[in-house]
Point group: C2
Chain length 194, copies 2
DNA sequence: TGTAAATATGCATCGAGTGCAACTAAAGTC
DNA sequence: GACTTTAGTTGCACTCGATGCATATTTACA
C-alpha cells in the first residue's frame, strides 16, 4: 500500500464523504439530507462531492460497488464442473459476508435497499450496474446463455434485497439477516439448476 | 362507462401525455426528453404533467401500475389449497399477458426495464411500489410470512425484468419474450415451494 | 525552483419536482 | 339561465441534483 500523498488524500476525502453521508442519513434520513450538507460536513465544496460520486445515491452504494468486485472475482474462480447456480450462490455468500464484515451501518444498508433508486439526469451507465457486472462475469465463466444468466442474477438480487429489507425492517440481528438473505438467495436460484 | 365530461377529459389528457412521452422517448431517448417537451406535445403546461404523474419515470410505468392491479386481483382470487408459488406464478402470467395485449410499444417497455429507476426528491411512497403491493396481497391471501413473500415477489420481478430486458435487447418476437419471461419467473419461484 | 499534471472550487445553467395562489371550466342548485 | 361550488389548469418562485467550464490550488517530477 504505497500510495502517493495525492492518493492518500483522495481516499481520505472519499471516506470523509462516506462517513458524513452515513451520519447525516441516519440522523435526518436520505431525502432530507442535501449534498451541500454532506460536502460541508466533509469539509469540501459541493462541486467536489460530484467528482467522487456521480449521484447522491452512489455514496450509499460506495462500498456495495466494491462488494461486486468480490462477487465478480468469485465467479472468475469457478471450479471445473461447478454449476452456475452453485457458483452464483457462492458469489453471493462472499458478497454478503463482506457486507457485514466491513461494518456497514444498518442505516446505510437499510436506506440502500429501501430506495427504488434511480437516476436523475445521469445517462445511466448500464455496464456499471450490479446486475450487468455479475451477469457478464457469469456468462464468461460458464457455458450459459445471456438470458439465463441475467434472469438468475436479477432473481438473486431481488430475493436478497427483499429478504434483507424485511429482515432489517423487523429488527432482526445481523446474523439472522445474513442467514435469511442467504436462504432467500438459494431459493431464488434453485429453479435455475435445470 | 358513463364518465362525466370532466372524467373523460382527464383520461384524454392522461393518454395524450402517455402517447407523447412514448413517441418522444422512442425518438430521442428517455434522458434526452424533458418533461417540458412531453407537456408541450400533449398541449398542457409542464406543471400539469406533475398532477398526472409524480415523476417523469412514472409515465413509463403508467400502464404497468394498472397491471399490478391485475396481479393483486389474481392473488386475491386464490383457490383453496393453492400454493403461494402457483398463485404468484399465475398472477405474473396474467400481468404479462395484459402487458402485450394492451399494446405497449417495445420502446416503452424497453426503456422501462432499462432504467434502474429511482426517485429524485420524492419521498418514495413505498406502499405504492410493485413489490409492496404484490407482496402485501400475497401475505393476506396465503398463510405466509412477510419475509418469504417479499423474497418471492422480488425474485420474480427480478427474473422477469432481467429476462425481458435481454430478450427484447436481442430483438426476439413478442411471443418469445413472453415465453421467456414466464419461464424465468417460474424458475425463480420454484425454490420457494418448500 | 519551476513547470506540468491532477484536484479543488466557484459560477452559471439545466432539468426534475413542489407549494402556492390565481384562474378557468364543469357540476349541481335554485 | 344565472349562481355557487368544486375540480382541474396554469404561472411563478424556489429547492435540489447534476453538469460544463474556467480558474485556482496542490502535488509530482525534472
Amino acid at each position: 500500500m504505497n500510495m502517493s500523498l495525492r492518493e492518500r488524500k483522495k481516499q481520505r476525502t472519499r471516506q470523509a464523504l462516506i462517513d458524513a453521508a452515513g451520519r447525516l442519513f441516519d440522523e435526518q434520513g436520505y431525502e432530507a439530507t442535501t449534498v451541500e450538507q454532506i460536502a460541508a460536513a466533509a469539509d469540501v465544496s459541493t462541486r467536489t462531492f460530484f467528482t467522487y460520486f456521480r449521484h447522491k445515491a452512489d455514496v450509499l452504494y460506495a462500498n456495495s460497488f466494491e462488494r461486486i468486485d468480490v462477487g465478480v472475482r468469485v465467479i472468475g474462480s469457478r471450479q471445473p464442473g461447478e454449476r452456475p447456480v452453485q457458483l452464483l450462490a457462492r458469489a453471493f455468500d462472499e458478497m454478503l459476508a463482506e457486507s457485514w464484515e466491513m461494518g456497514l451501518t444498518a442505516g446505510l444498508v437499510g436506506e440502500a435497499f429501501k430506495l427504488p433508486i434511480h437516476s436523475h439526469r445521469a445517462s445511466v451507465d448500464r455496464s456499471d450496474t450490479r446486475l450487468e457486472r455479475l451477469a457478464a462475469a457469469l456468462v464468461s465463466a460458464c457455458d450459459i446463455d445471456r438470458l439465463t444468466a441475467y434472469s438468475m442474477v436479477a432473481a438473486a438480487i431481488g430475493a436478497v434485497s427483499g429478504a434483507a429489507a424485511v429482515a432489517m425492517g423487523e429488527g432482526r440481528t445481523d446474523e439472522e439477516v445474513l442467514a435469511e438473505t442467504a436462504r432467500a438467495c438459494r431459493r431464488a436460484l434453485a429453479g435455475f439448476d435445470s
